[in-house]
């Protein structure tokens, strides 16, 4: 079995995913849940066909897909459209992120009475995974103000999540190891610099991309140009440790806001079917990464994390919408659409693992290992619940038309 070449495996998984997606659609779940289930079956926890070395060498596919997802988000964020949503959207992003942080920190603290650990869990809570939400929007052809708001929230909240994480992570470190304390200011400045740099790099690339794409003669060359720029954004983000999501998002953002919308639609029309195709390997690889054997290690801590994160995100989004006087349907349903959590959160908890193991105190080492196992397990649940929640929100808001 292991002698089956990797490209055959990817081919088979792609075709099977298509039909798994159809199967779960019969019970009204978004197709991507089917892709993920197939990934779980092929992955390390069941059949083991797509695991270890194989999975590692396909990492680039996940990055490219995420880059295209972020690009799509950016291209939907027309400033004029955003203005129609009002200040509400800014309040929502700030409120849902901080509320998730605060509620999870409080919840974990009440359970463990361990402040550094509570801060770390809290700092991981705001990170959301945009791909699930975007895939659902695209699959059902959702349109409307909630859809617009979701694009904006899942895109920009990556930036805020990084800042909150940087700050809380620094605070937790200082508590664990006061001798080597780092200034909290630095804990904020460093990630803030990272974000500014991501936006700047993405903005410059986006500008060049826009200039070039407007002159490109055969439209069939647009996918090549877009692929080239998305790949460069990803490469630069990884190289300089920037946010892949923000950098690639800026490409689409600059394009949309400097180009007539008829032109933008024509350009994006070339990409549409390929983006919906990229979701397939993205989610079956995500599924293959899920280690369902880690589920039992969830424990009460994991349950608290999930409940308080959900409460924080939904409550925060509600609060932000009220404060910003957003439409009722945004106030009621937006929170359901932003629950996904995946790669970014796991990446940040890996960072915690590395840093805290380096600190070397017994407490820091035990926190690090608790964090990584718990977050891995809760992501399994959030990654499946998130898209379902997004579909529920869009359906209730009446932004999903009749099935095409």
């Amino acid at each position: 079995m292991s002698s089956l070449p990797l490209i055959t495996l990817v081919g088979i998984a792609t075709v099977l995913s298509l039909y798994m997606g159809r199967l779960v659609k019969k019970v009204n779940l978004p197709s991507l849940v089917g892709y993920m289930i197939l990934g779980v079956v092929l992955g390390g926890s069941v059949l083991g066909v797509l695991s270890g070395e194989n999975l590692h060498s396909l990492g680039f596919l996940t990055d490219v897909a995420l880059g295209f997802v972020a690009f799509t988000i950016g291209s939907e964020l027309n400033i004029r459209g955003l203005k129609k949503l009002g200040k509400g959207i800014i309040y929502i992003i700030i409120a849902e992120s901080f509320a998730a942080f605060a509620v999870v920190t409080a919840g974990v603290w009440l359970l463990t009475k361990n402040m550094p650990m509570a801060l770390i869990f809290g700092s991981l809570a705001p990170a959301s995974a945009p791909a699930g939400t975007v895939a659902v929007i695209q699959e059902y052809g959702a349109k409307g103000t909630l859809t617009k708001a979701l694009y904006a929230v899942v895109g920009f909240d990556d930036g805020l999540a990084i800042v909150i994480f940087g700050f809380a992570n620094a605070a937790a470190r200082n508590m664990l190891d006061p001798a080597n304390s780092m200034s909290l200011l630095q804990g904020i400045l460093h990630p803030a610099g990272e974000i500014l740099l991501s936006l700047a790099a993405g903005g410059i690339l986006g500008y060049i991309y826009t200039v070039l794409s407007r002159r490109l003669k055969p439209l069939t060359d647009i996918p090549s140009l877009t692929f080239g720029f998305v790949a460069v954004s990803i490469g630069i983000s990884q190289w300089l440790h920037l946010s892949l999501i923000l950098t690639s998002m800026m490409l689409g953002f600059v394009l949309t806001n400097t180009t007539p919308s008829i032109m933008v639609n024509k350009l994006l029309g070339q990409l549409r079917s390929w983006i919906s195709f990229l979701f397939i390997p993205f989610f079956f690889l995500a599924g293959a990464h899920l280690d369902i054997t880690s589920l039992p290690s969830l424990g009460i801590l994991g349950v608290i994390y999930m409940l308080s994160r959900t409460a924080g995100l939904m409550g925060g989004a509600w609060l932000g919408a009220v404060a910003g006087a957003s439409e009722p349907k945004i106030r009621k349903y937006l929170g359901f659409g932003i629950l996904s959590q995946a790669g970014v959160a796991i990446g940040l908890s890996m960072l915690v693992l590395n840093e805290f193991t380096e600190l070397g105190t017994p407490e820091s080492v035990s926190i690090a290992s608790t964090v990584i196992t718990t977050i891995t397990a809760t992501c399994i649940i959030f990654e499946i619940v998130g898209p379902i929640g997004a579909k529920y929100a869009l359906t209730r808001a009446g932004e999903i038309g009749r099935e095409k």
């Binding site: 490209i7 495996l9 081919g11 159809r22 069939t220 080239g228 490469g235």
Partner: protein, 406 residues
């Protein structure tokens, strides 16, 4: 770790710059793929070395996938009705261009080297054609007409004939070598049987996948799913071909061929529409990587044998296809031009030469070792020239035939 990261950025830069180097060479009337290749050469192992051998090995899967798509699109163009209207001339052209390339190269190489084994080995490599260059040119210039259809058919099916001729001739060469150095020999028949089995199995696998694919395609719920299904089947075809040592080109051509001949025209059209936006990207990557592989340091190794090989092969392809077209009663435009569309030679020939070198270096004879060493370097060097020359002559041929709209 960090080296992987840079790789994705490098690919992104390559694709973007490739797009514009393609424009640049187009200004001087050359096909875009020449620009992609030139950029690849500059960034590759010969000049800047931004892409080195380690990188290129990691990226071979891109070349395989792109070749799979090229083969699929060839099959897709081969409607039975088109093939029938082209008549028996297609079969004759394929046989004559392949066999005469083999014979002319063998004769010329024998004249310069005086060694029958060397002559046969080089002859056996001559028929192989690289379809990607020709297909890329046809698609770029949106060429349409009898010559374009004939080129699709010949460039596609000729892979099968090339494998057969190679298997048979290489076996004879080995036989002569073995008996002259007094080593007991295997059977000559196996030299013909093995490649025949390879071809039949490739066609069978291609048809099976093709029927499954054509059955599933019309039942898809949304056009947006066409890329996923197509990509999935081409990847399966490419991967299974690699696994069972079959012809990647024939297998994937089979998938496209079955689609074109068993499904409604409207279905075929929508598949093609979806591919149209992907093929340019694949061509950039494919030819960029081909360029990055080109090692100009090997050019001096060309030598007299290399020159004999190139002259013999070009003359054989052009003359042979002329003869085949003449005997088959093809039109004058096809007769005079088709050979010029078949000069590309690349990956398949290099692959076969590696096979020869592997087999011959395991034979316990000084002559075998000498051939093993020279065949790879010579073919690598001649491929550099054929890979650049091939698409250019293909464009000229299509232009002469009046199949490139202004």
């Amino acid at each position: 770790m960090s080296f992987e990261f840079t790789l994705l950025a490098l690919i992104g830069i390559a694709v973007t710059l490739g797009l514009f180097s393609g424009r640049l060479v187009k200004k001087v009337g050359l096909p875009s793929i020449i620009g992609y290749m030139l950029l690849g050469t500059v960034m590759g192992v010969s000049v800047l070395k931004l892409f080195h051998h380690e990188h290129l090995r990691e990226l071979t899967f891109i070349t395989d996938i792109a070749l799979g798509f090229v083969a699929f699109s060839i099959g897709n163009e081969l409607k039975m009705s088109t093939l029938k209207s082209l008549g028996k001339s297609i079969g004759l052209i394929i046989v004559f261009e392949s066999v005469s390339a083999l014979i002319l190269v063998a004769v010329l190489v024998y004249l310069v080297s005086g060694d029958i084994v060397t002559a046969l080995i080089f002859g056996s490599l001559a028929p192989a054609t690289a379809p990607a260059g020709t297909v890329a040119v046809i698609r770029e210039y949106k060429a349409k007409g009898k010559l374009s259809s004939s080129l699709y058919a010949v460039a596609g099916f000729d892979d099968g004939v090339a494998i057969l001729l190679f298997g048979f001739t290489a076996a004879i060469a080995k036989q002569i070598l073995l008996s002259s150095s007094g080593i007991s020999q295997g059977s000559l028949a196996s030299g013909l049987i093995q490649p025949s089995v390879e071809i039949v199995l490739s066609l069978v696998l291609g048809s099976v996948l093709g029927f499954l694919y054509s059955y599933l395609i019309p039942k898809l719920l949304s056009k947006n799913n066409i890329p996923a299904l197509t990509f999935g089947f081409i990847l399966m075809g490419a991967g299974l071909a690699e696994m069972f040592h079959l012809s990647l080109i024939l297998v994937n051509m089979g998938i496209g061929f079955v689609l074109a001949n068993t499904t409604k025209q409207s279905t075929v059209v929508s598949v093609n529409e979806q591919l149209r936006s992907l093929m340019p990207l694949l061509f950039i990557l494919f030819f960029f990587l081909a360029g990055a592989h080109l090692n100009f340091a090997s050019l001096p190794a060309l030598g007299l044998i290399g020159v004999a090989y190139m002259v013999g092969r070009a003359a054989g392809k052009i003359g042979g296809s002329w003869l085949g077209a003449y005997l088959g009663g093809a039109s004058k435009t096809i007769r005079n031009n088709i050979g010029f569309g078949l000069l590309s030679q690349a990956g398949v020939a290099i692959g076969l030469s590696l096979l020869v070198s592997q087999e011959f270096s395991s034979i316990d004879s000084a002559q075998a070792h000498a051939i093993a060493a020279s065949v790879v370097t010579t073919i690598t060097a001649t491929c550099i020239l054929f890979e650049i020359l091939g698409p250019i002559t293909a464009k000229i041929a299509l232009k002469n035939a009046g199949e490139i709209p202004d």
